[in-house]
Amino acid sequence: MSLRLPAFPFDNRRVVGALFLAPALLYILLIVGFPFLLAIAFGFSDVTVGNTDLNFVGFRNFEAVWDNAIFRQVFETTIRFTLISQVFILLFANILAIIFTQDFTGKWFARFIFILPWATPVSLAMIGWLWMLDTKYSPIDYLLLQTGFLGPGGILSKDRNLFWLASPDLAQISVIFVQVWRMTPLATVILMAGLSSIPTDILDQAEVDGSRFMRTLLLIKLPLILPIMVIALLFSMITMFGDMTVVYVLTRGGPVDYTRVLGLYSFQVGIEGGNLAQGAAISLFAFPLLLAMAIFMLRTASRAEVR
């Protein structure tokens, strides 16, 4: 390529490549790798906020955490929330991605609106939902009350309120709904990238072949974006699995422990409770699961791509 001999190191592809990559790689190793190892060390120690000595205690923390009934429930809740919300996220994201890869009047504005839940910082959007689901003043309850679903003779409840965040079932439903609400746009955007990368020739061909909308969708478009759908799923599952912001603002894990998820629990034990070691152990329980999920999905995606 270059007519000159690579006398200067800046001409050598490998040297420049290594030089360019090194700072970012080192920074990440330092800022992610080191804390990660430290998390493992904490998990095997008895460190607290007050006592910062690292004494090796073996699997005591993990055993204590695993024997804790609350932890088991928290673990199960996290998995349940993640799985249920993914079903709805994928469903809505597919519909929305198909809508937004078509041309229609007012698309720009519609897109702005549907992106808002994702664009707004989660904790701030949750303030809106906190009010929407308020025990006393919930606008949703107000609508239901006016339409006769609530209040004396109401179908849903005789009460004037549903107590969205105070009743165990509704609190769980609310958290899942809000998670779906805020994460559908991201999955949609990823799927849109997939849909718009399908060659137009293929779609024209399907049209000439006599395929109608649903057939093209089910037999051509969806199979072709399957690898990207897996990536979208990976993104939203991992985001959701590690999230604590939604429940921190909405319920703080309540009522009782019904909406407590792993991230929040580890925060409450490790930071608020001051037991760094146990907090670290709690969050470490999530790691093998996350890793397995990531590897499984990336392999599925790349296999689908190679085909």
Binding site: D11, V16, L21, A119, V249
Partner: protein
């Protein structure tokens, strides 16, 4: 204020009228263009379920924001006594907006968020621009592996790392300082923007750099003079999304900083504007809305670019 108050008191009527007017104008425009034929009528009827679907999704997406908007201007009496969330029984007021900006640390939060955001964007660009270029062009198999590693790092959730990071921050004496966030945030912004930038760099034809090399520039100069200017739109959208990532971050901000005046928006608003059990709803909702709108606009503006970078980054090669 007069106009605002009129809009607010007639909000729902105005919204319905605006929607109907838009639909009417659109149909009228089509009739002017294609004539009022039966085909045209059939077309309108066939399209309407689609628009209804769009409208339904839009309604769910925007509902909390509409409520935020209306409640920002409600007086306490209107909000709490005989609640009627959708209309104004008392005249709209801007006293809560006034209070938000003058009696709370809201402006401090905004300032902290901007400072942290800008510093993190700079660090992120310095680290990820060359690294992304190396992944896109310069390195072979091991570079690809490093790229996958980076992708996996992006997937490590903050809930896994915040406890040891908290210890490190305390040890470094950075607790309660935005500097802690500036140091830690690149742990997720660098992998993210590397991934995105790599896609944009791949879109630049390699022949252009090769031409620069033949013209007597070295690799580094070719990168600075050819690749960077050509991928400027992509870099700008990376900056936008990196900045908003820092704006969104909650857990580190919550754990590392306990001092009110040092907190960022995402943590400060939901923790500091609530005094124990007392929620100042109007300022709270206003504070959320004021951030949501510009970020939403920025996302919409740069979305196509993001999708393009994502697609290019996903394509192997």
């Amino acid at each position: 204020m007069g106009l605002l108050s009129w809009i607010l008191t007639n909000f729902w009527a105005l919204l319905v009228i605006a929607l109907l007017a838009l639909v009417g104008a659109r149909i009228a425009w089509r009739i002017l263009k294609y004539g009022a034929t039966r085909d045209e009528l059939r077309y309108v009827l066939r399209r309407s379920p689609f628009y209804l679907l769009v409208l339904t999704f839009c309604f769910f997406a925007i509902a909390p924001f509409l409520i935020m908007f209306l409640h920002t201007f409600k007086t306490d009496g209107d909000l709490y006594r005989r609640p009627q969330p959708f209309i104004f029984r008392q005249d709209p007021t801007i006293e809560h907006l006034d209070a938000l900006f003058n009696n709370t640390a809201y402006l401090d939060f905004i300032r902290n968020s901007i400072v942290v955001g800008i510093a993190v964007v700079i660090i992120t660009l310095v680290l990820s621009l060359p690294a992304a270029y190396a992944l896109a062009r310069l390195t072979g198999r091991w570079g690809e592996r490093a790229g996958i590693l980076m992708f996996l790092v992006y997937l490590v959730p903050p809930t896994l790392l915040f406890i040891p990071m908290f210890r490190i921050v305390v040890l470094l004496g950075l607790k309660d300082s935005p500097l802690a966030l500036i140091v830690v945030y690149p742990s997720f912004t660098v992998p993210f923007s590397m991934w995105l930038l790599q896609g944009f760099f791949k879109a630049v034809p390699p022949e252009l750099e090769e031409a620069a090399l033949v013209d007597g520039y070295n690799r580094v100069e070719a990168f600075l003079r050819v690749v960077l200017p050509l991928s400027l739109p992509g870099i700008i959208s990376t900056v936008v999304f990196t900045f908003t990532l820092t704006l969104h971050e909650f857990i580190y901000g919550l754990v590392f900083i306990a001092d009110t005046s040092q907190r960022t928006l995402s943590v400060g608003v939901p923790t500091e504007l609530i005094l124990g059990d007392v929620y100042f709803w109007q300022p709270l909702l206003a504070a959320a809305l004021i951030i949501a709108i510009p970020v939403g606009l920025a996302y919409n503006l740069f979305l196509d670019s993001l999708v393009q970078g994502f697609t290019m980054g996903a394509v192997k090669g």
